[in-house]
Symmetry: C2
Subunit: 650 residues, 2 copies
């Protein structure tokens, strides 16, 4: 088909043709924007999409569009740093820690700036690193915000998405048996022994309810007389704690433990959060699920290590648990990394994500912090310091080897009155008791991670991905902020509501960790979950558990998640293995590990990049996905390349 | 409320009142009929329903209805025989086997008759046991068949069922938190440690696909050179078998094993059946999933024992696997019991059900049997012989201690041209190649089990329950046959389609083992499964796996079944524990075990019969169920008691 014929297939009459070109321009611009922010932060951007963008750049007209985009050389992402120890190496070794530098650090407008020395600081001449510019970001954000409401673009994306759905349906009818035949021919590899990563799971709920219960009972057997709590100076033994609660741990049940989400939690995120307190008692949460308590987080570490042990036993399952940094005080990082090293929490089957709850308003109302910048400083300054002076922060330096990203978490359905723009108060000026809006949080987290990553890359250290919760509930604009700032997201349910964003997330292959069982308890009934539809259209979705303690019943939470999806949506083995492959791609596992789990050429797109002997994903499926994506992208590029032709009546 | 007011609530105008009385009469008569057949076969019938029937009997009018019902004294079912060994006892002990009797046995009209001696046989004077009468049975059957199509009865049942649904909804709204509070107050008991019985599971598919795969690989490691197959005289080692299949077991995967149901099996029971052949090779089915093969069923026994071991480890899970008796030859029973004893297959967490496939037509067309009576004789005569002369059949005698019932299995959606009636050919005359219809199978199985049970009861031996597959697909008349003949059924999906039958199954509290994951792969999408609705209305439903090999993904198939139901239907803990309690009630576990698992008074109805410390079912729920059932039954009894009043204008 010639490109004109192709366009005719999409828009049969001339009037629509102009709309199509306008939509294509907008979509390409949005992709350029995401590419820019991705590259700046050492986030990932798909090669295929990037190649099409390169070819579109040559189209003259785009110059105007791209004027305000920073020019940059795309970095090579395959040669990433793998700080994880080999088998037999001591994962907590403090040897080979880089030297300190005499760099200076200072926060300005909520972003940490790096200075080569005190003199540069005094002259306010920051080191030559990319620093984000709020005004540009606000313009980029408003471009995407405007286009998701633009009629012709909506029509275009809606039609393309419908087309993708129908096309997959046809693909399935035609190739289902052929895919299955391919898989049957793969020796020794099936759904059970392909690698799966639980891409979204909170450490404090990574065990199931029964596991937590048994653990509590076992500690009581051995440690009843141990002092476990220091409550405002009053030291309490485990026995005393349970006496005060009028409770014999032997009699404890999952019912009285009450950490499982039920019908009561649907659309009640507030109730859900309080479920983290076993028996409704914050003392037990303090003792069992905290890293920084009287017993130095020992119980929590042991619980996590039991979960890790099961993963290691299973061999093929990995997890990326979230640990909290709140930004309440600058000591949190030292404390967390001390816990991690002392309790030896590392597992080869786990990588760590730091979750930052969006609870400035709580700290502010309790007068723990003066403004929003202080919270950002507490979160990020220690990381810059550990990067600049690792010898001074050895434990944090070692811990950061195993941290692969940041998450931003809280109830998205809470409405904010403030509209983020370049006129918004700077973080230092954000002194009201109100919480800043979602976009404000995301920009400032992204900005600091971006600068930090560039600094770390310079030093040959590992970088971090920004992986916020996004689109679980609330405004669809959250998904716009994340499209610019996030490497990948958790949930993404609200992509259902915006065809433009859904199509953009498809074109940019933004990975989405979905947790339909969690959604089923909180925000969306299982049968209405869009995962199956997203998967079929070709979005890069993975399956994750979110909170096994709250949602799952069996000992194998991730398998339960896969099993239910497979049963309810009648997913084929190829579907399941595609999801598993996506989860490895999305994860923060190292390049070396991904090569091992997916095949040496996993960075290549299409069937070339797939080693079916490792992934159990049919090459027919890989080819279908690749051709389909190329087809969608070429439609867009064709539109801008032939703009002059297209705007004249044919 | 007076009974008149009550009736007004159901039928507001006079015209309907007559209908109501007619419906009540029909329903009561159907219950009398079921009670009769239940008592005759030592099946169970709920006490509450029986009490209401006793009070209805006093109503004069019913005499005419009951004329043709056999008068019998309801037997006491609580003092049942527990042949299972205590801890430490040898379960295979051949001591204490009762003496032989010189009874004679002879099949007549497809039913085995017992004679005190040769003389009685020659004079055709059977021993005084109840023998079923086909003509009476046919009349009873046609009564229930007629009433399920009767308009007024349908209206009445439909309204009562809707009422039951709405009433439960109200109960839930009002008492959900109170039920939960009750459960939280129960020490040491929660959903994880209440007893659950997998009430419907086929032994040949009781392991999951991954388990079977690992087992095959492990046998190959140790037994490659072992002769495992004798194919028409050609003896093959395991290695040769796999060589012939062009396959290295190490390379085998769940994909190539291909025993899992998929999208391809929906509405294709034929395809489903062939899934029992690993790698599509009947050789592997023969080697690994048969009791009577060259290796004397060793592998199959080991597989089952591994599953049993997991159940014993879990402590709270039990299963009732189905083993096949085909009726092809009279030696099957000796062979099966020999396998059982020699391979030591007994587990305290398992009780056995004998499944009889309805495949007369296959044996007939292969000329293996001459008529249907021969098949029945092959199935039942050995059991009568082992009961009369246990010293001659020691292994079978011991095996039968652990057999608690019979199942009738096959694809119910296959249509039969023959309409069962008292004019149908007797089994000896059934010589066509066509398969007899479902009802014909059921009556003849019931008839033999009934006589057998009475004979065994006389001898102080255990009795058997008839527990056919019923209502999975096909005609709703299957559910009528089972209403008369079955102690309890598996599936029951088609109760959806008949309000009268659904209401009867409710009133008679006929236990129904439901397997929504199995249905989802074969006959009915999960979201359309009526389990939740049945449970809420108060039908006695349990959850079962059917075929873990074909349907389940995780290591804990029964927990997977519960987890998915809990998640998808948002079942409360009380709902789940009610289902688990139902499963124990439905099961063939002994009176002693049920007392241990459910509480000493479990045979009493209502909250009295519930020991919440063992079942974790709220007393509020138990009271609700009991009051609701009493209410429904009293409506019916009131109608016939006040018939004279009701038939005159008020």
């Amino acid at each position: 088909l010639s490109s004109v014929d192709r366009r005719r297939m999409v828009f049969p009459c001339h009037h629509h043709l102009e709309d199509y070109e306008q939509a294509a321009k907008s979509l390409l611009k949005a992709l350029f924007i995401r590419e820019k922010y991705s590259k700046l932060a050492y986030h990932r951007f798909p090669r295929t999409t990037a190649q099409f963008l390169r070819s579109a750049e040559n189209a003259k007209y785009l110059n105007s569009v791209l004027l305000f985009l920073i020019n940059f050389v795309p970095s090579n992402h395959c040669a990433d740093i793998c700080p994880c120890p080999h088998k037999g190496e001591d994962p907590y070794s403090m040897n080979d820690i880089p030297e300190n530098l005499d760099f200076e650090l200072k926060m300005r407008d909520g972003i940490i700036y790096v200075y080569d020395n005190a003199e540069a600081l005094s002259k306010n001449r920051p080191r030559c690193l990319p620093y984000p510019d709020l005004e540009t970001f606000a313009m980029d954000l408003s471009h995407v915000l405007a286009m998701i409401a633009d009629g012709p673009t909506k029509t275009y994306c809606h039609r393309r998405l419908n087309f993708l759905g129908s096309k997959f349906y046809l693909h399935e009818m035609l190739n289902e048996m052929a895919e299955l035949k391919e898989l049957k021919g793969v020796p020794h590899r099936d759904f059970y022994n392909v690698r799966k990563v639980d891409t979204h799971i909170h450490a404090a709920a990574c065990m199931n309810q029964k596991h937590l219960l048994t653990f509590i009972q076992s500690t009581y057997k051995t440690d009843a007389e141990r002092v476990v709590l220091d409550k405002a100076g009053q030291r309490l033994t485990l026995k005393q704690v349970f006496n005060n609660l009028n409770m014999d741990p032997y009699d404890l049940t999952v019912d009285s433990l009450d950490v499982h989400a039920g019908r009561q939690t649907f659309h009640r995120f507030d109730k859900f959060n309080s479920k983290y307190n076993p028996v409704g008692a914050s003392e037990l949460r303090e003792i069992y699920l905290k890293t920084d308590n009287h017993i130095k987080g020992e119980y929590f570490a042991r619980l996590i290590k039991e979960v890790a042990h099961d993963l290691e036993e299973s061999k093929y399952q990995h997890a990326e648990p979230r640990l909290s940094i709140y930004g309440r005080s600058p000591e949190e990082w030292e404390s967390l990394s001390h816990w991690f090293i002392q309790q030896k929490v590392h597992s080869p089957n786990m990588r760590w994500i730091i979750q930052v709850p969006r609870i400035y308003d709580i700290f502010k109302s309790r007068k723990l912090i003066a403004n929003f910048a202080k919270m950002l400083e507490n979160i990020f300054l220690p990381l810059f310091e550990a990067t600049v002076n690792p010898q001074k922060h050895k434990e944090l330096h070692v811990f950061l080897k195993y941290v692969t990203g940041f998450d931003s978490v809280d109830d998205e359905s809470k409405h904010s009155d403030h509209m983020f723009s370049y006129k918004s108060p700077k973080p230092e000026q954000w002194t009201t008791d109100d919480n800043p809006p979602y976009s404000y949080y995301l920009f400032h987290m992204y900005a600091n991670i971006m600068v930090l990553n560039n600094l770390r890359k310079e030093r040959g250290l590992s970088t971090f991905q920004f992986r916020p919760h996004c689109g679980e509930a609330g405004s669809i604009t959250h998904l716009v902020s994340a499209f610019l700032t996030a490497d990948n997201i958790s949930h993404g349910l609200n992509l259902k509501k915006s065809p433009v964003l859904q199509y953009l997330y498809y074109l940019a292959q933004v990975p989405i960790a979905m947790s339909p069982l969690s959604n089923n308890s909180l925000f969306l009934e299982y049968s209405k979950n869009p995962l199956r539809e997203f998967l079929h259209k070709g979005l890069c979705v993975s399956l994750s558990t979110d909170d096994p303690m709250q949602f799952h019943y069996t000992k194998e939470a991730l398998m339960e998640e896969y099993a239910i999806a497979a049963q309810l949506w009648k997913l084929s083995t190829c579907d399941l293995c595609e999801i598993a492959r996506n989860s490895v791609l999305q994860s923060g596992l190292s390049h070396q590990e991904k090569k091992h789990f997916l095949g040496a050429d996993y960075l290549k797109d299409g069937p070339e990049g797939n080693d079916i002997r490792r992934t159990n994903v049919a090459q027919i499926r890989m080819a279908y996905r690749h051709e389909t994506l190329c087809n969608e992208l070429s439609f867009l590029v064709d539109a801008v390349k032939s703009e002059v032709l297209g705007s004249q009546p044919e």
